[in-house]
Amino acid sequence: MATVDIRQVRKAFGSTQILHGVSVAIEDGQFVVLVGPSGCGKSTLLRMLAGLENITGGEIAIGGRVVNNVPPKDRDIAMVFQNYALYPHMTVFQNMAFSMKLAGAPREVMEREVQKAAKILGLEQLLHRFPRQLSGGQRQRVAMGRAIVRNPQVFLFDEPLSNLDAKLRVQMRAEIKELHQRLKVTTVYVTHDQIEAMTMADLIVVMNHGRVEQAGQPLELYDRPANLFVAGFIGSPAMNMMEGRVEGGSFRGPGDVAWPLPLNGAPPPGGEVIYGIRPEHLRLDPEGLPATVHVVEPTGSETQVLMHVGGANLIGAFRERIIAKPGEILKVSPETSLVHLFDKGTGQRVGN
């Protein structure tokens, strides 16, 4: 187990800058998720951590030791690849024992360690099989077993669940989190799926265009997104955003509809701002603003409604079972304390 320090790390392929000075401090035993859209540099950062890509600038330290020029095998890390990268010509046992075999471990040690990992992952019955004969979830477990056997200081996961079907993904998500709670090894996990990030992480690092947009605990990111990008990226369905001005104690959105402003820390009047409200923070209110219903999507646990308010497209997620036909008018109003305001020019959060 170890801390991981990423300090002002930059990466360029030729003249193309991929990472522009990324800094992340990871505590011992933390589960950190790097999340962002494709091409944001999260996988590249992970591969730099593993030593599969060299570091153009800055420093990476594992357990206090700068590893910029340390070859991958001496970094004391283990990685689970997106396509699992199991050796197809080796059995599950041989796959898991490979690193020990290379290190010249005696047969009994290999047996003992592999059995131990196999027991944790429920792979005891599959040790003599070849990867071809395994299902996707089983392969995923073998890939994790291969990492566990190494007994590393840091686990790296590169989008490990993206090749699984939706149901299995939810199950493996819980398994990985449970495994982490059991082994307490520092883990860096890359994904493009914000739900995975929210559910698994101790610390989420949201990346975009080779920069860190915000790093924090999952609920912190959800409650207080630092900028428009994080606000739009975290949460599903995504946050509603409207452009407009602050005028006379309220927000004037599209169609000159007046929306209530949060009570504390309201911005000075006249400012061009973006008004953000999460779908689940709109509620039905007889005193509220009139919204024209366009589409109603019942999911059982809640009802999502696509609606227009003064020309703005909004999504509302309501606990109530709404039986409204398209064209009908609903009265809605936002939870005033849960409204987010962002500066239109910089995209940064303003106010509270």
Partner: protein, 317 residues
């Protein structure tokens, strides 16, 4: 709803023409589809092979149709030291050339699999020896090995390493080795390009995983590259052995089996006896005698090397 609209109209089956009926008849269709392939196989494969085997059991000479003589040709062949010599050289030639081709070909493939500048140009250059017509290769090597004008001899003498020209093809053993060298030169591209294709099917993430598992470059070759290449290696080797064992052009164009029959392969000996020598029956018998060797080589590489257990499908064992 539209029942009323369709009332009074009954769908009638359209009468099929006799031709379309015929083509709908499965046995006819099967015969029609198989005929071209079967025809080509019969005319260009089965007939020549059958004729060759038939000739091997007759005393046919050029200009006179022969009589059935049973295994007389083979009896004669077994007692013929020249045939034994050709058997020895065919096996030796195939074995040494295959080892040479695969050693150098694999090395070249591994080199080309790296990121090199001008990669595609280099690959095209590698292919050159293979696309040059064999006879042209043979002429070039015949010139290189020429007792008087050999460029190799010239260089050695100019460098002061030798006083006299090298004798490449006028005594038995130097001639045998020289021909093997020419065959290796010609065979490398096929091996290198085929193995390169095989190398490129190996996922780079396997090497990355092995790198993290702490492997050295040699261990990655030994435990990842080689086992994963083995199935392709087996197929390429089978082809290479067959091509080399049945080689004719290089040897015939450079030495014509000489000096004193020392470099005859079975193919060149069969041709020599059958066409210039006129003994078609004997020549055919020598050619037929290659079949057991080829069957053995094919079976060996097929069963020994191809289809590893890990390649087989989902079956639970």
């Amino acid at each position: 709803m539209s029942v009323t609209a369709a009332e009074g109209w009954v769908r009638q089956a359209k009468e099929q023409s006799w031709l379309s009926k015929l083509f709908d008849w499965k046995p006819f269709l099967v015969v029609m589809c198989l005929l071209p392939a079967l025809g080509l196989l019969m005319v260009f494969l089965t007939y020549p092979l059958g004729l060759g085997i038939w000739l091997a059991f007759t005393d046919t000479t050029i200009g006179r149709s022969g009589r059935w003589v049973g295994i007389e040709n083979f009896e004669f062949m077994i007692e013929d030291p020249i045939w034994w010599n050709a058997v020895f050289y065919s096996v030796f030639y195939t074995a040494v050339a295959t080892v040479g081709k695969f050693g150098l070909g694999l090395w070249l493939a591994l080199l080309l699999n790296n990121h090199l500048p001008f990669k595609s140009l280099l690959r095209a250059i590698i292919l050159l020896p293979w696309i040059v017509p064999t006879v042209l290769t043979a002429v070039a090597f015949w010139w290189i090995y020429n007792p008087q004008f050999s460029v190799i001899s010239y260089i050695f003498i100019e460098l002061g390493l030798r006083e006299t020209n090298i004798d490449f093809i006028n005594t038995a053993w130097p001639a045998r080795w020289s021909l093997i060298a020419a065959n290796v030169w010609r065979g490398i591209p096929f091996v290198a390009i085929s193995l390169l294709a095989g190398l490129q099917t190996i996922s780079p993430s396997l090497y990355e995983a092995a790198l993290l598992d702490g492997s050295s470059a040699w261990q990655r070759f030994r435990f990842i590259t080689f086992p994963m290449l083995l199935p392709i290696l087996a197929i390429v080797m089978t082809f290479s052995i067959i091509f080399t064992f049945t080689d004719f052009q290089l040897v015939y164009a450079i030495t014509r089996g000489g000096p004193v029959n020392s470099t005859h392969l079975l193919a060149t000996l069969a041709f020599q006896r059958g066409i210039p020598g006129g003994q078609l029956g004997e020549g055919a018998a020598i050619a037929v005698s290659m079949i057991p060797f080829l069957v053995f080589a094919t079976l060996f590489s097929y069963f020994a090397l191809a289809r590893r257990k890990w390649q087989q499908g989902e079956a639970n064992d």
